[in-house]
């Protein structure tokens, strides 16, 4: 069974609630090694997505993802806007024709999202960014092979959480935290954390959990 546009929209609404719930945590993480706006920016972006979905939900999963992309680009002031915006935009393009998303198209969308983030931010594994969460998530999803959407997202979320934790000892080489040099070590990267949170939320939605 695949995910319809309605289900993708519902997953984004659930993700918005998760982002709002973790707003303070993300602000704290970003305050330690960045400019402290990640939680607020992301909350603003996802709140705007929900408002747009309230107005009207597009017909295809791809169109829902594209709505999320353009909204994030327009409303999130920091680096997260263009990065998550590009991720959603590439995911939308990768799934352009599908009426419903199956496991293979979800894995394909995750791969496209990762490639978009890497192209936009020029970050590599180990730079202490969201790539450290997203890259292992994509590889885990692809390694699972033929399966259902909830399983693909579950392994992706698991790998993203582990990947996010792996950023703690790292010295940042990209983004605002890189200005801190060695002092950025010992902190969880807020972008990696929000990526892990979002994938966990998507996995929970796919599994039918609130």
């Amino acid at each position: 069974m695949g995910c319809t546009a309605e289900q993708v929209a519902a997953a984004l609404r659930a993700a918005a609630a998760v982002v709002a719930g973790h707003r303070d945590e993300l602000v704290q993480l970003d305050r330690a090694i960045g400019d402290g706006d990640h939680g607020e920016n992301l909350k603003r972006g996802f709140t705007a997505i929900v408002s747009k979905l309230d107005a009207s939900t597009p017909d295809t999963p791809s169109a829902v993802l594209k709505l999320a992309a353009t909204t994030l680009i327009s409303t999130v002031g920091g680096a997260a806007g263009p990065l998550y915006g590009t991720a959603f935009l590439r995911a939308a393009t990768a799934t352009a024709e599908a009426e419903e998303l199956d496991a293979a198209s979800v894995a394909k969308a995750l791969r496209a999202a990762l490639e978009g983030v890497v192209a936009r931010g020029k970050a590599e594994i180990g730079d202490k960014t969201m790539v450290d969460a997203l890259d292992p998530a994509v590889r885990a999803a692809e390694a699972l092979g033929d399966n259902d959407v909830s399983s693909v997202l579950a392994v992706a979320a698991e790998a993203a959480a582990t990947g996010a934790e792996s950023t703690v000892p790292l010295v940042a080489r990209k983004g605002r935290a890189s200005y801190l040099g060695e002092r950025s070590a010992g902190h969880l990267d807020p972008g990696a954390r929000s990526t892990a949170l979002l994938l966990r939320s998507l996995a929970d939605s796919a599994a039918g959990r609130p």
């Binding site: 400019d35 706006d37 936009r120």
Partner: protein, 220 residues
């Protein structure tokens, strides 16, 4: 004549306006658009504002975008990708202030898109290749401040659109005459004598224009 426009993308509205103010002083006919801060007046970059600034700056000869910090570059890249003709705009990795001043002067002088972008990038460069000068002249600076910001900008503008490689030498230092900052770095003051060398089809015209400027004390 349509000139290359400039967009200054910054996290701060104040900073973007300040850079526009500074660069605009040396380039009165160039369209410079600030795109700083978020829609609600906070710190950050606003995609819609950058896109709108890009449209306003586009006068037919292309637009160069300069940015302050990493995510401003991402937003600038996104805005360019959203254009009907993305080739008409370039996001340039250059020092914001020096790059904007150098790019504005190049645009004022009629440089094309790639020329303006290159001027931004070499904004703070003072080293130039040794030209095989066909013509040169010594020039006594009789104005009080010498080759300070405004006279340097006038000089750079005077030769910017000529087919000539023009070098200004003072002491053992040399500067590309198209680079305002390189000229200023010469630190030539009133009473100093500089040497102008020019090579190319319009070398004579270039020397004449600079002589005229100096004889008018750079309109001080």
């Amino acid at each position: 004549m349509s000139r290359v426009g400039l967009v200054i993308v910054s996290h701060s509205a104040t900073l973007a306006r300040g850079v526009v103010e500074l660069a605009g002083q040396m380039a009165p006919d160039v369209t410079l658009e600030p795109a700083g801060g978020t829609a609600d007046g906070g710190l950050g970059t606003d995609f819609e504002a950058v896109t709108a600034a890009l449209e306003r700056a586009s006068q037919g000869a292309g637009v160069v975008l300069l940015y302050d910090l990493g995510s401003a570059k991402m937003v600038a890249d996104l805005a360019v990708e959203g254009l009907a003709e993305p080739d008409g705009a370039l996001v340039v990795d250059a020092p914001l202030v020096e790059g904007a001043v150098a790019a504005a002067v190049a645009a004022q002088g009629g440089s094309d898109l790639s020329g303006v972008a290159a001027a931004a990038v070499r904004g703070e460069a003072t080293e130039v290749a040794e030209p095989t000068a066909e013509e040169s002249t010594d020039l006594l600076l009789t104005n009080e401040i010498g080759l300070h910001a405004r006279p340097a900008a006038l000089l750079a503008r005077a030769v910017a659109n000529l087919e000539a490689q023009v070098t200004v030498a003072f002491g053992d230092r040399k500067a590309d005459a198209r680079s305002v900052l390189a000229l200023m770095a010469l630190a030539a003051r009133g009473g100093d004598t500089i040497t102008i060398s020019a090579d190319g089809p319009q070398a004579t015209e270039a020397l004449q224009r600079i002589r005229d400027l100096a004889s008018r004390d750079f309109d001080e």
